[in-house]
Structure formats: structure tokens, C-alpha cells
């Protein structure tokens, strides 16, 4: 009798585990990854700074200060009282303003590239994996074919060709205006940024498609798909309602690592002289420009170089943290 009395006295809340949504579980696991959290914080700060670019900086990007070349850090502009926090470059443009606007452009290019390449990859991979057969073999042969071409040399060829022949790919004026307003560029300048996004995303979707296809192939055989089909679901419904949401985990990780990759890739193209060209600031072309002057002013390459490295590292850590957080088999 006493035993049953004891059992009655235990409250239901005490023996049930607090219920958590999958999102909460992933978040809690992600928070445990310290470096990923630090990286996340760093990236949020960088994003906020670049979003507030026009309010933080006091100089125009292409504002030339005659006779004030390479002024040291923190020099005050006597006429207007504005401060060159990081000095000026070889033709007297404020380094700090250029750096922040460049960040805005570089990060937007990376974000857009990831967005486009992952979306294309998801759709192609899902269709390929879901339908199989000749659709699958045609699409995957094409992906394999693209992956056997040496990427960097081809990227260089394509971007050198596109930059010298900007009208080759027609881009709607509205797209240019939208992208231009995000990057704070005129539609004409935005064209080269959009072209770089197209070039980068044109290669980026390949791995996303392979990843997606692999996941969909295993999902296709699951019983809940069969159940959904027996209830009369259409292919489109199954793909968008079951396949894509369930395959998101690897895609999210890939996207996060991809962001770092695109920041570096964009900078590499600009560094080699085949990316976005000089009057428009990007971290890559600023770094490239410092090469000429670094013998006298050795700190110069660090200014645009560190942000590239920090972003690349941070996105990699975030990706790493997400990978661990999203893998249910891994115990943290």
C-alpha cells in the first residue's frame, strides 16, 4: 500500500523531460561549441558594421584628398574635422571608409553566391535524386563533367572575358538596381559585382547538387515518403514538403562553409586582377593594391587582409559548429 501511495505522490512534471523542439535542441548543441559562438558574434558585429556603413564612415569611397597620400592612422582632416581612422591610400582615399564599404560588397557577393548556388543545387539535386533514371544520369554526368575541369583557371578565363565584355550576359535593370542598393553602388558598377556572383555561383552549385542528391537518394526509400505517396501526394509536394526540409542539415553546413569559401574566392579573383575592379572597393582588390607599397609601409596588407581571414575562419568555425550540432549521432 505504501508503495502505490509513494508513486501517486510523484508529480508528472518531475518524471517527464522538458519537451524541446528540434530547433531548440540544435541551438543548445550549437551554443556548446564555444569557437562557433565566438565566430557567430564576430560575424554579427561585422555584418552590423557593414550595414551601418554610411553612418559610421565620414568619407566617400572615391573621395580623393590631394596631397594627403598615405597619412598615418588617426590623422584629422583639418578642413572638415573628419578623422582618417586607418589613414589614406596611395591616391588619398580614406582607408577606413573603403574597408567598410568593401566589406559590404564582399559579403554581399558571398551571400548572393551562396543563396543562388545552394538554391540551384537543392533543386537540381532533389530532382536528380528523386526521379533517378535518365534525368539523374544526365544531370549527374554534367555535374561530374564540370567538376573535372580545373576550377580556378576556368574561373579566371570566364571572369576576364566577362569583365572585358560586360554586355555579353544581359542582366535586368531591376536586378542591378536591387543589388546596387544593397552594395551602395550605382547600377553600372553593380553589373561587375553581379557578374562575379554569376561566375562564382555557376561553379558553386555543383557540390550542393551532389550533396542534395545523396541525401534524397536515402530519403526516397523511407517509409514516410511511401506513406505520403499513398495518401495521394504529388511529386512536387513530396520534394518540397519532405525531401528538401529533411535534407537541409548538410545543406546548411555546406552553405556556411561556402560563405567563407566565396569571400576568399572573390578576394582571390580580385587579387589576381580578374575580379571587381579598383574604383569599387573590395577586400581583394585593396589587398592587391597594397602589394606595390608594402615595402615602405608593411602594415598596409594587414588592413584588408585580416578581415578576409577573419571572415573565412569564422564561417568555417560556424560551419563546423553547425555540423556537430546537426549530427544527432554525435554526443557533445
Amino acid at each position: 500500500m505504501t508503495v502505490s501511495a509513494q508513486i501517486d505522490s510523484i508529480k508528472a512534471e518531475a518524471i517527464t523531460i522538458e519537451e524541446r523542439s528540434p530547433f531548440q535542441v540544435v541551438m543548445m548543441r550549437f551554443i556548446k561549441h564555444r569557437l562557433a559562438m565566438v565566430s557567430m558574434a564576430v560575424m554579427i558585429v561585422i555584418f552590423i558594421i557593414t550595414i551601418l556603413a554610411p553612418y559610421i564612415t565620414s568619407f566617400q569611397v572615391d573621395e580623393l584628398n590631394v596631397d594627403k597620400y598615405f597619412v598615418p592612422f588617426g590623422t584629422v582632416d583639418e578642413a572638415t574635422g573628419r578623422v582618417h581612422y586607418l589613414g589614406t591610400d596611395n591616391i588619398g582615399r580614406d582607408y577606413f571608409s573603403r574597408l567598410i564599404y568593401a566589406g559590404r560588397i564582399s559579403l554581399t557577393v558571398a551571400l548572393l553566391s551562396v543563396l543562388i548556388s545552394e538554391s540551384v543545387g537543392i533543386v537540381v539535386g532533389a530532382v536528380s535524386g528523386f526521379y533517378g533514371g535518365w534525368v539523374d544520369s544526365v544531370l549527374m554526368r554534367f555535374v561530374e563533367f564540370m567538376l573535372t575541369i580545373p576550377t580556378l583557371p576556368l574561373l579566371l578565363i570566364i571572369s576576364s572575358m566577362l569583365l572585358r565584355n560586360e554586355d555579353l550576359i544581359p542582366i535586368p535593370e531591376s536586378v542591378l538596381k536591387t543589388v546596387g542598393s544593397i552594395m551602395l553602388l550605382g547600377p553600372k558598377d553593380a553589373r561587375s559585382a553581379v557578374l562575379i556572383v554569376i561566375v562564382l555561383a555557376g561553379f558553386g552549385w555543383l557540390s550542393a547538387a551532389q550533396l542534395m542528391r545523396g541525401t534524397v537518394l536515402s530519403l526516397r526509400e523511407q517509409t514516410f515518403v511511401e506513406a505520403s505517396r499513398s495518401l495521394g501526394a504529388t511529386d512536387i509536394w513530396i520534394i518540397f514538403k519532405h525531401m528538401i526540409p529533411n535534407a537541409m542539415a548538410p545543406i546548411i553546413v555546406d552553405a556556411s562553409l561556402g560563405l567563407g569559401g566565396y569571400v576568399v574566392a572573390e578576394a582571390a579573383l580580385a587579387f589576381l586582377g580578374f575580379g571587381i575592379q579598383d574604383p569599387i572597393p573590395t577586400w581583394g582588390n585593396m589587398l592587391s593594391a597594397t602589394q606595390t607599397y608594402m615595402f615602405d609601409k608593411p602594415w598596409l596588407p594587414l588592413v584588408p587582409g585580416l578581415p578576409i581571414f577573419i571572415c573565412s575562419l569564422a564561417f568555417n568555425y560556424i560551419g563546423d559548429g553547425l555540423r556537430d550540432a546537426l549530427d544527432p549521432r554525435l554526443k557533445l
Partner: protein, 399 residues
């Protein structure tokens, strides 16, 4: 296996062919080329360049031929003229190009007037190209003539002078990466969760996120510019050998072009490439090693009473290296492209830098030749990797 190999080889040939076509077309669409400066000269009244002169220059660069004809002459060295069968000529009157195009100013989509070719005054017929100088075709090892970098000299000369430099760099880098990267990866895996492992994984992670161009510049700063300005021993940062003799504190006088000089110039680029490569490779070895160390047969080997060294070197390492072999094979062509950036930073006169110079200077025959070589290398490496998979791991079957 044989059927698979045959299919793959055919596929690879197709890949090389398509990528050659694609890049040839892309580069042909790019404006500029050897005629870029000509228009400006033409407008300058001191030099009277007649239409005939331009036609001749266009012909010497084969720019008067249609794209497919030009491509075919570049790829296989044909056609060189009308088909001759039994003393009779066929197809002699086929139009293969345009000697004197009609140019007109056309309003483009952005509202700017552009000079565009709208018609043709004088056609080039197949019988006209008899006796023109032509390459034997890139497939037969003749890469044609350079347009600008070494004007009218064979591209193969230019490339041949650069290949040893790139091979030096990449060869040394690969050997050093293997010698340093594998032991590091093994040690880190065996001492998992130790202080060494922690530091190593952090550094390797940073290394794989580090853009090579920034890393290269940092190295130049830290090992060349700053010590040089401070009067300390430094390492030269540009070119593969210096032009003049120089003195380095502690090391002493270095004669330009001597072995010592060349060695010193190699230190920085090789170090940059090696460190970044080690970061990737040793991380892979570590992961692969950890995977193997958890296997039952390793536990069995330990249970038998074998020494730690034997277990690690004989049982674990051999199996951990299986996937690594394929990684190494596949990164080799990647190293050539990776060298593009590093060679540019250090002005190293190798193939990668040549590629950048050729693309920037409109020397398309050189760029095309290098791209072709790289594609072939990549395709061979891909094929080799897939075949190696089956050789090193019999569980994988190719179909």
C-alpha cells in the same frame, strides 16, 4: 573493369575536348587581342595604316577565319587548304572567313555606340589559306605561336622554360608536405585530446581557412620586408633568382644565380605552399587514423600484446593511408592551380604566373595552351584516383 576503363577514358577525352572548345570560344569572345592597339594607331594621322595592312595583320593572327575553322586548325592543324583527292581539289570555294569586315557603329543595350562587324566586303575561301603558316595542332604537341608575351615565338618554348620552375616548387612542396604532414597527423591522432592535439587541430583548422594570397603576403612581410628594414637576416621574396649580387647579414654575400641564391628564393614560396598543404593533408590523416584506431582489428592487435609502434605503423597506418593515396593523387593538378596564386605573389616565373600574364595581356594562344595542359592533368588525375580506389581498397567495385 576493362569496360569501365574504356568508358572512362572515352569520357575523359570528351571532357578535355569540350573544355577546350568552351575555353577557346570564351577567349575568342573576349575583346582586345592583338588588334586592340591597332585602332588607336589607325586614328593617329602620322601612321597611315591601310585597310590592306589590317587585313594582313588579321590574317597573320588567323583572326580572319571563322571560329570553327580557327578552332579546328588550332586543335588538329587542319584544314590547310582544299581537299585534294586524285589531283582534283574539292571544297575550294567554301567561305571560311572574312578578310575585310564592314564595321559600323551600333547602339548597344546600355545606350553607348559600339563598333561592331555588320557584314563582309571580301570573303576568305578555303583555297586562299593554302600555304599559310599553321600549327600542327595542339593534339600533336604544337601549341602555335605566342601573340604578345614572346611575339611570334612558339608557345611551347615559353611553356617549356616555365615548367621546370613550377615542377621545382610543386615537387619540393609535395615531398615536404608528405614528410611533415603524415607524421603530424599520426601523432595528433595517437595522442588524441592531448595538448599537442589541441594546438595542432586549431592551427590546422586556421591553416585550411587561410587564403593563400594573404598568407603569402604575411610571409613576405615577416620574413623579408621587416627583417630587411631592421637590418636582420632576411629571405628574398620575389623572382626565382636575383639579377644583382646582394649581401644578407649573417649569411653573407650571395652571388646572383648561384645555388645559394636560388635556394634562398625558393624558401618562401615553398614554405607557404607546404604549410597550407600540410594543414589540409594532416587533418585528413588524423581523421582517417582515428577512424582506423577504433576498429576491432586494432584492438585485436593490441590484445595480442604487440607493441604500440607495431600496432600504429603496421596495422593502423597502412589502412589509414588508403583513402589518403587518392587524396594526394587528386590534389596534384590542384597544386598547379594553387600555384597560380602563390606564383603571382612571389613573381615566381612558373606556369601559374605565365597563365595570369597571358590572360591579362591578351595572349590567348598561351592561355589556351596552359588551360589545355591543366585540363588534361586534372582529367588524368581524376581517372587515376578512381582506379586507385579499387586497387587500394578491393571492397570498392567499379561498374
Amino acid at each position: 573493369m576493362t569496360a569501365y576503363l574504356i568508358r572512362r577514358v572515352l569520357q575523359s577525352i570528351l571532357v578535355v575536348f569540350i573544355s577546350a572548345v568552351a575555353s577557346y570560344v570564351l577567349l575568342s569572345l573576349a575583346p582586345g587581342g592583338p588588334l586592340a592597339g591597332l585602332r588607336q594607331v589607325q586614328q593617329n594621322s602620322r601612321f597611315k595604316i591601310t585597310e590592306e595592312d589590317i587585313a594582313r595583320i588579321r590574317a597573320s593572327f588567323e583572326l580572319d577565319l571563322n571560329l570553327p575553322i580557327r578552332f579546328s586548325r588550332w586543335l588538329v592543324g587542319a584544314p590547310t587548304g582544299p581537299l585534294v583527292i586524285g589531283g582534283k581539289e574539292y571544297f575550294g570555294d567554301v567561305v571560311v572567313g572574312c578578310r575585310k569586315p564592314i564595321e559600323a557603329e551600333v547602339l548597344n543595350s546600355r545606350g553607348i555606340y559600339e563598333i561592331k562587324i555588320v557584314g563582309c566586303k571580301e570573303d576568305v575561301l578555303l583555297k586562299d589559306i593554302v600555304g599559310r603558316r599553321t600549327s600542327r595542332g595542339i593534339l600533336f604537341g604544337d601549341f602555335g605561336l605566342s601573340w604578345r608575351l614572346l611575339r611570334d615565338r612558339p608557345v611551347s618554348d615559353l611553356i617549356a622554360s616555365r615548367i621546370p620552375k613550377t615542377l621545382q616548387l610543386i615537387g619540393l612542396e609535395t615531398i615536404l608536405s608528405l614528410l611533415i604532414g603524415i607524421p603530424l597527423g599520426i601523432y595528433s591522432a595517437v595522442k588524441q585530446y592531448s595538448k599537442f592535439d589541441y594546438i595542432f587541430t586549431t592551427l590546422a583548422f586556421m591553416g585550411s581557412a587561410m587564403p593563400s594570397f594573404f598568407f603569402g603576403l604575411l610571409f613576405i612581410l615577416v620574413f623579408s620586408i621587416i627583417p630587411k628594414n631592421a637590418g636582420l637576416p632576411y629571405v628574398p621574396a620575389a623572382l626565382s633568382e636575383s639579377i644583382r649580387d646582394y649581401t644578407i647579414p649573417l649569411i653573407g654575400e650571395v652571388v646572383a644565380g648561384s645555388v645559394k641564391d636560388r635556394f634562398l628564393h625558393m624558401v618562401l614560396p615553398v614554405a607557404v605552399l607546404t604549410i597550407l598543404n600540410i594543414a589540409g593533408w594532416s587533418r585528413f590523416i588524423r581523421a582517417s587514423m582515428l577512424d582506423v584506431l577504433r576498429q576491432d582489428y586494432v584492438r585485436t592487435a593490441r590484445a595480442k600484446g604487440l607493441s604500440q609502434n607495431v600496432v600504429i605503423m603496421k596495422h593502423a597506418l597502412r589502412n589509414a593511408l588508403i583513402p589518403f593515396v587518392t587524396i594526394v593523387v587528386f590534389t596534384l593538378p590542384g597544386l598547379f592551380s594553387g600555384a597560380i596564386i602563390t606564383e603571382s605573389i612571389f613573381s615566381w616565373p612558373g606556369m601559374g604566373r605565365l597563365y595570369i600574364l597571358a590572360l591579362g595581356d591578351y595572349d590567348y594562344p598561351v592561355a589556351m595552351a596552359l588551360f589545355f595542359i591543366l585540363s588534361v592533368l586534372t582529367v588524368i588525375a581524376t581517372l587515376l584516383r578512381d582506379v586507385l580506389y579499387t586497387i587500394v581498397d578491393p571492397r570498392i567495385r567499379l561498374t
